[in-house]
Point group: D2
Chain length 363, copies 4
């Protein structure tokens, strides 16, 4: 209710602050029998961790995950799975200059007003460090989904005004392999180079820039999603909008669909060579009436530029007096390369949840 | 859990099919003491009801709401408020030709597969008729919010590729009055004329077109929204994406924000003449770290074109055989004019819910 | 959250006051494909309705239920099922003498203080009339359970200090037939006569008396119930304690089990003739570690005497001044005969909910 | 949903198995500003920990709690509070003889059937060791309640057939001080001696015995509890029934109330010397219509005898073959002395939750 849980049947609750002892997550509702590949989970965390390349923050965290409960002899048991990630590099001094001023476009002012007390170190709970816990939980959800043949891939499709063309790699592993060949996590190599050069320039300016992540989910069975309020895309949208810095979400035809006519937008049903029901186009993004229709689910997420910049900025302090905040510390010039595993993780959590929920649809 | 409820503390559950006995809603968690202005509630429903102008469907429904419980001597009592709207014009025969074929880009196929049984009359539960129940509940939420000084206004900001300019009317009543002077519900009179002419042409083609609705929420106290998963904009996003035909949501700088640099995007804190904390710009859309910061909340919702068109279309039937669906019945050429009260209603439900949730933030 | 909903996956929300327009319920999460036997549902309501015999209140209500949504051609469709029961005999004048005084051991004082406003007519929302909605929903749950072979039977096992002996009728229909042969709903005919005579005497005194209802659930599959907080008996206990006038719940060995030694209390596992795992005794009441073990589930519910008596009583009014309340109106001398279908209904709702929840236990 | 969470607004989720790495709890929804007295929390855990006296199990666990998140400079911040208690004495070998047999009246059989996999070491998740996490969370809830003047006390009121007389100590600290003077945690010294001698005899027999815990909650404001399903006593009942080994719950007049007449059971309203509304008697147990009425809340919880005994017992193994289980390992001869802090903790969690929930009752 206080907003630190997500999902109904496959439900996670995260905890932890940027500079506290540890962050972590409890997964409640994971079915028994899922094989827990700890290396895979750690690998997902490694894609999100800071300090992995020149275009990410230089904070050093190994983000080593430890499972405290809920598994036995390598499999889940149906009981809650607690995962913990200790904080290592808690260079809190970097934040001492921010104790009493509100950083622009951060959550300092709103937290201070809502709670009357605030852990100022690195943004405390509002830090995107919390998303490491999501990635750990999402990795387990992906293992569950993989056992059902469902694949989720995402990549950076835009940085600033640089847009990648559509990438046609049907195999998920190949898509990911190609994406991981560059540090910006764009599956189109040529665009990736352009993006990296651009981000590096922004970084040298002490500035930041936004971007977009596109995500594709394949082999989703027909029937996931609950009508009316818990439409599959509504839950995906909430999941994505809950990620730090996200300002927009669209699926299928998205915003551009609002400019189209029905006669061009309608997805015509037909059968493919194997007799499977498909649609000729996929403006529905794999979801109709809030329920998966078996076509690939496609959506896009827009991230604003990171608020921490290396410039001095005007602001106010806790008493409302004018103040200046100096540009110090470590920061990400562009958040999207590290956001790719987060987007995939949140998508996996939504799909796993609805996979379980769908089991109740029929007598 | 089956997705027919929305909200945590101010919680609604809707029921009803397009061509059943009635649709309705239970509101659970409305505080006692709210004055129930039934005329206002009916007035909101009138803005959503079919048959209100030449650019909406010609189905005739008075959409007369009746309150069955939860009020006493004109005020809410803290007990559940049940509202019911009987269905009148149930011309189900119009749908007899659709019994066994799946209409393109409708929910026929997904419902049939998920549940194994389907009320085919007018889309059954998947019909946008369900949103009347939301509008009734949202109107009550708006009465609660008004008593706290909070105002919500929306209008049609785009139809197809026709975009309205920004409208600067600070007073909510004036904004609505101007919007209601035209049947497309755009607060800019010149653009409204253009939109109406365009929709009328689309209608004559037997076609449909999408559009966008922009929404503004004013006088929201600082502190609404729960960190991490239930960020205020995440809940707004889910609310909007749960509305039939919505394919995209953005708030504040939205998708265009992903193309900006941090140094231009950051909203600088300052004080206004009365000493209230404000920000110089509002790219944050009134929400920082998922919590309202006291600035106006601003978001935009993209609607795809209505799937029901007056053209013959190829499809398949329940056995998977090729079939043709003929363009008959009644339909909306463009859904956004009737969507305006729905967007406002869903926004009101989210804000009312978080207003109550915020009461637990401090000891 | 405001407490008018029950269940997680098979979830009901009730509404309505004793003397309002109607009471009713929405069932959300009922799987599709359940055959809706409206006569059976009405029959269950008839067992709870007032005025059915000389030992129940003489208020006249036909309690005729109407289904507004969620069914199609006689079966559930997976969408919410709304049921409504209009109030007919709203003799509110009977309550005009109570407008401003707090009836002893009723909810008048607590509602008035909690909400600051109170529908005084017949107790408003706090009236046991609300339980009719539960019986309607529970009857549908029983239809779902019957299709899975699960049977629920209850009867009056005590009135005041009169206790019925154990009744050994294995067949559920026969048990119910025998119970329904007397107006007190005790399956032991001799005890029933004694109980009826006793209640009749209490009624003539203008007084009331408490009693107990025993309930048995058969053919429950092994595995229902969630460990830790949502143990099957914990949810059954909450369900029963939520019924008006209930002051106690025990299952299996219950309170007397607390006086036993482990060596006599332990239920020894063995196999029956068909090779099914059973236990030699059933002190566990069919539930171990919060999960059904396949043995019959057994529990008992204690009801306090009805608070409305035909005596004058001292009390205070809304200003805290001493006042007297006169014994007028209609009342039940003993609530347990009408409580039998309520206990069964709530049990059915719990079992149906956990039946669906258990579907997620394994991969 | 998988049953490892409790509470709505003050919500806990526990994790961990008897012989895993650690057990722990996340508290989500604790308001900011609560002073965290870690010594008090540890002191509560010490009352529950094993090995504290000759009448408890000799397993050695220091049960040292560590807070990982959610506090800053000694106060809660409104973010989730994670507490962890490492497992130390994991003498798993003691359980190796139980790998493949189902211990009578334990959860072995039901877990194995429900999940198809089972952590057999010490009962895994079904072990009462999980309640340590509840005690830690409940201690924080008690700190919150104390700041509002609310006091919770419990003691052992029965062991087997030995019942303690009512104890009249109004001051909570004095009550607890007297209770803590003996190892059985009964506030009546004479009865305590009798109980201890009896338990010691049972222990020497290698047997176990049940008992009861009585609990009193004072200074609860009028208005806590939600009508209909989430009645305050229904939530208390569920909380207590969720504790391992509990088989019964009653509040106020309880089971004996079902033998009374209304004319003797009704609690007459009056004012005390300070003008506060009270009732002459308290058969309602401080709760009317599910809502606290300001009188002390009183309830009783019945615990069955511990299932682990030092006798050989017949049972079956995983293949359903007859087997014998030998009486080895460590066990509690009577669980109630260690259950006292658990009962108090669960009561505190319920009251804290409803304290927050009640904030939404009025506009």
């Amino acid at each position: 209710m206080a907003g630190n849980s997500f999902g109904q049947l496959f439900r996670i609750t995260t905890f932890g602050e940027s500079h506290g002892e540890a962050i972590g997550v409890i997964i409640d509702g994971c079915p028994s029998g899922v094989e827990v590949d700890l290396d895979y989970i750690q690998g997902e965390l490694d894609k999100r961790k800071p300090g992995q390349s020149k275009i990410t923050t230089q904070r050093k965290e190994s983000d080593t995950v430890k499972i405290l409960s809920g598994t036995f002899e390598g499999k889940t048991t149906g009981t809650p799975i607690a995962m913990i990630i200790p904080n290592e590099d808690q260079r809190s001094k970097d934040y001492s200059h921010n104790v009493d001023v509100f950083r622009p476009s951060h959550a300092d002012y709103t937290y201070a007003t809502k709670y009357g007390i605030r852990d100022h170190r690195g943004g405390g709970r509002s830090s995107a460090r919390e998303t490491a816990a999501r990635v750990a939980a999402g990795a387990l959800a992906k293992l569950l989904l993989k056992s059902q043949g469902i694949e989720i891939v995402a990549h950076v499709s835009s940085v600033g005004k640089i847009d990648a063309p559509n990438v046609f790699i049907d195999n998920a592993d190949e898509f990911i392999a190609q994406r991981e060949q560059n540090i910006v996590r764009c599956a189109d190599p040529a665009t990736a180079e352009e993006m990296i050069a651009f981000i590096d320039g922004v970084r040298k300016d002490g500035d930041t820039v936004g971007g977009k992540v596109s995500c594709y989910i394949k082999n989703v069975p027909v029937g996931l999603g609950e009508p009316v309020f818990d439409k599959l895309h509504a839950d995906l949208g909430k999941a994505m909008l809950s990620i730090n810095a996200v300002h927009g979400f669209e699926f299928g035809s998205g915003f551009s669909g609002s400019e189209m006519r029905g006669s061009e937008h309608n997805d015509i049903f037909m059968k493919d060579a194997e007799g499977k029901v498909i649609t000729r186009t996929n403006f529905s993004g794999g979801i109709q009436g809030g329920i998966s229709n078996g076509m690939p689910i496609e959506f896009k997420v827009a991230f604003k530029p990171v608020a921490t910049i290396m410039h001095n900025q005007q602001t106010i302090d806790g008493e409302g007096n004018a103040a200046e905040i100096s540009g110090k510390g470590r920061h990400d010039p562009c958040v999207v390369p590290r956001a790719v595993p987060i987007v995939e993780a949140m998508a996996a959590l939504v799909i796993a949840d609805h996979l379980l929920r769908n089991r109740s649809a029929k007598i």
